[in-house]
Symmetry: C2
Subunit: 460 residues, 2 copies
């Protein structure tokens, strides 16, 4: 192994950190459908949005044309604390699999937040600070986003209020403590602090919460408290813009060693990691410069792409958020509680939804015990304990590498390793004890979610 020409880790230097984010939408022939005001059914205006989001972020959200946005120097400086992130050649995994495929992964877990979420958290916190706001509100499920945002806010001296899905708040006390250590206030959702929380608790007294419900609470608090705005860790166009740093770095590092991946694989919950990782590659593909297979991997228990509908839907349970046109299982869909980790969101980024709809990418669903098998194999070979979310991409990458073993093809696979699994050990324990099971929603389960899709003019 010592005579490889390509090193294990391909690092860029600090001055090779991209100074611009890339906006996928500029190269899309079919732009993502606009967000709609749920009251009027009309596209949301910048003015309407600015009550919820920071002004600069509203601009980024609405801009379908500008290909590159300058990254403010202060954000580049923050990125330097943990970026460029390593691009790793998985020699040990390749050897273990006996595959001729060449596997690379872009590792985004090398910061305390433990995931790629920090890339957008610092950007959103920065614009909030710049606008002179006092603080931000958000929701968190598995806790990666909340942790990242707490870190960013601590750094900038912003107040940070996190509504944490109650089941996670109770099952992941350590996640909660990390956020508190970074100075955030963490509230289990649904709470009695908000009108929507009180309403949900009255209707479902024993509920353990959901991401959609926590979103509703965080938005309510942001719009009713002067000096506060709401921030979100996935789904939105602005988030994919910030996360493009992942793909830009990955591409720059691969270009350095003259490697073109045949396929790019990422896990997909709301789409933040996948959209960021594929951005520059998809750009080349859309511009007809280079072809790539692009594969989204989602859990079989929450199959937005593979079994969802492409339709306008609410992003939240409380139905107070704008409507987004996306692949969705319906805003009332709640994944089986047996599902470990994130990727539990009922919808999907509107950008990725459009790209998938237009046949520019593939999607597949995988079951969780197979995901944890892949995770454990990966941990033992490559030394990194992966987050369950990231392990969906590992599973697909291993499957593709094993196909190469059958056919003898030396394909080059790039996948996104979004984060570490330090806070997911309850799930690993279940897996280690043989107590993990799979769950695939029935067609009836899905039909109930679809029945609740909102009526929007022009939508069936």
């Amino acid at each position: 192994m010592s005579q490889q020409n390509i090193p294990y880790k391909i690092y860029l230097s600090e001055n090779e950190i991209p100074t611009k984010w890339y906006n996928l939408r500029a190269d899309m022939k079919n732009k993502p459908a606009p967000l709609l005001n749920p009251g009027t059914g009309q596209p949301l205006t910048a003015e309407e949005m600015s009550g919820i989001f920071c002004e600069e972020l509203v601009k980024q959200e609405l801009d379908n044309d500008t290909a590159f946005f300058d990254i403010p120097q202060e954000i580049v400086d923050f990125y330097k604390m943990y970026r460029p992130s390593p691009l790793v050649r998985a020699y040990c995994l390749e050897e273990k699999l006996g595959t001729p495929a060449k596997i690379y992964y872009k590792f985004e877990g090398n910061n305390t937040s433990g995931s790629h979420k920090l890339n957008s958290a610092i950007a959103q916190a920065y614009y909030a600070k710049k606008q002179g706001l006092k603080g931000v509100t958000t929701e968190t499920g598995a806790g990666q986003w909340g942790t990242a945002l707490s870190m960013a806010c601590a750094y900038l001296g912003l107040d940070c209020k996190v509504y944490m899905v109650k089941v996670s708040y109770e099952q992941k006390p350590f996640r909660r403590e990390v956020m508190r250590t970074y100075g955030a206030s963490v509230v289990p959702s649904p709470s009695m602090e908000t009108e929507v929380g009180r309403k949900i608790l009255a209707a479902h007294p024993g509920t353990t919460g959901s991401l959609g419900c926590a979103i509703s609470e965080a938005v309510e608090v942001a719009v009713t408290h002067p000096g506060y705005r709401y921030v979100l860790g996935s789904v939105l166009n602005q988030v994919l813009l910030h996360q493009s740093i992942i793909g830009l770095e990955a591409k720059a590092a691969l270009d350095k060693i003259g490697v073109k991946p045949d396929m790019i694989i990422g896990c997909a919950g709301g789409g933040s990691n996948l959209g960021g990782l594929i951005a520059p590659f998809m750009g080349e593909k859309m511009r007809g410069e280079q072809d790539y297979r692009i594969i989204a991997v989602e859990p079989a228990s929450c199959p937005s792409f593979t079994r969802g509908k492409f339709a306008y839907d609410f992003c939240d349970t409380g139905m107070i958020c704008p409507l987004a046109k996306m692949y969705t299982l319906g805003s009332g869909f709640i994944p089986s509680p047996n599902h470990a980790g994130g990727l539990r969101f009922h919808g999907m980024s509107t950008i990725l939804s459009q790209l998938y709809h237009d046949g520019l990418m593939e999607a597949r669903a995988v079951e969780q015990t197979a995901v944890f098998e892949a995770a454990e194999l990966f941990a033992r070979c490559e030394g990194i304990l992966p987050a369950p979310e990231s392990s969906h991409a590992i599973k697909a990458a291993i499957d593709e590498a094993m196909l190469c073993k059958e056919t003898g093809e030396e394909k080059t696979i790039l996948f996104g390793l979004t984060g570490t699994g330090y806070f997911d050990l309850v799930a690993y324990q279940k897996f280690n004890d043989g107590e993990m099971s799979d769950y695939i929603p029935t067609d009836e389960d899905l039909a109930a979610g679809f029945a609740a899709l909102p009526k929007v003019p022009g939508q069936d």
Copy 2:
């Protein structure tokens, strides 16, 4: 901050990973005292040692003269998965403190084991494998060493049995699960599996265990099971040899940017991190080439250097291990249970003990609430959630930087950030809730430990 000439992280390239470990002992005028056979009181022979340790490691343990040992290529290849580790300039912390001091830290937490322990774990597992052994046994307290060894054994396909101090086994179930995920078998200590465990349980039925007791069990199992040897994560000369990679890399990176540190600070439990970090600097100091202040930081609740005796003592509670001449609180000393994290060992590396005795380094003890204050400040500025152990070094580095602020001196401080605190959130929670307290043993507490020091010819 963007106009700094020195980057945030100074990375070496993979081919700059040192290919030799440096053996501090070669440059010591007064060599560390030899280990003694507790039965005969005579220096332990290589033959006696080889029933406990692998042959190659026995050679390393006993060699006081060879300055450099080649690192086997297989170990270098493994190191490439997570090394070179970053050397970071703590710009954000400096700015927060308003100090003219320049602070650097060598971060060893960038691997799943979460600490520097992996550097020696892979070496020890490699030699065990090379000798054709089936497996290794060890003990773990806070869990960092056990995790690292489990990873290394998974990689090499070696059986790994970890005796985990019972209180940690119960309070840190996630640590346990990480080890299991890497395929190790983890046993709470004291257990009924060993003679020494049964004896301790009979004498102290309710005991929650101690590191010294877990060592006794692991050694007993190794010497009574063919094909097994015992491995240890600190204290031993071989461990300091392997850990010299930390200091060698740190020095190579600093040399690259033309920086000489004025002082080098490391936390000290058994001495593995401190001994590794300071190795090449202490070498220059001993050879009269360059002067450095070298500072060991230990917890006030387990003050081996600052309040211990320099004497021959057992490394374990069961008193079946060889005797080592070291700064010790007595093998029966058990730190207050209020103490969070590692650094709970009653003794200290014989090498570091001799260096301290000879006036080549300083030591200071710090209290844990002050340590957690420093940890939280560091986390918020630098983004890394530090392990409590590492935070002892942070505390001392901050104190020195604040002294520079008073005097206006632009000193350069290098400290070792040995690992991350993901598994120490119970302690962070206590701190966040204001429920953490300090504990300093009384002179009477210490006297009891000293009274139990073994009778060795020539020792008072």
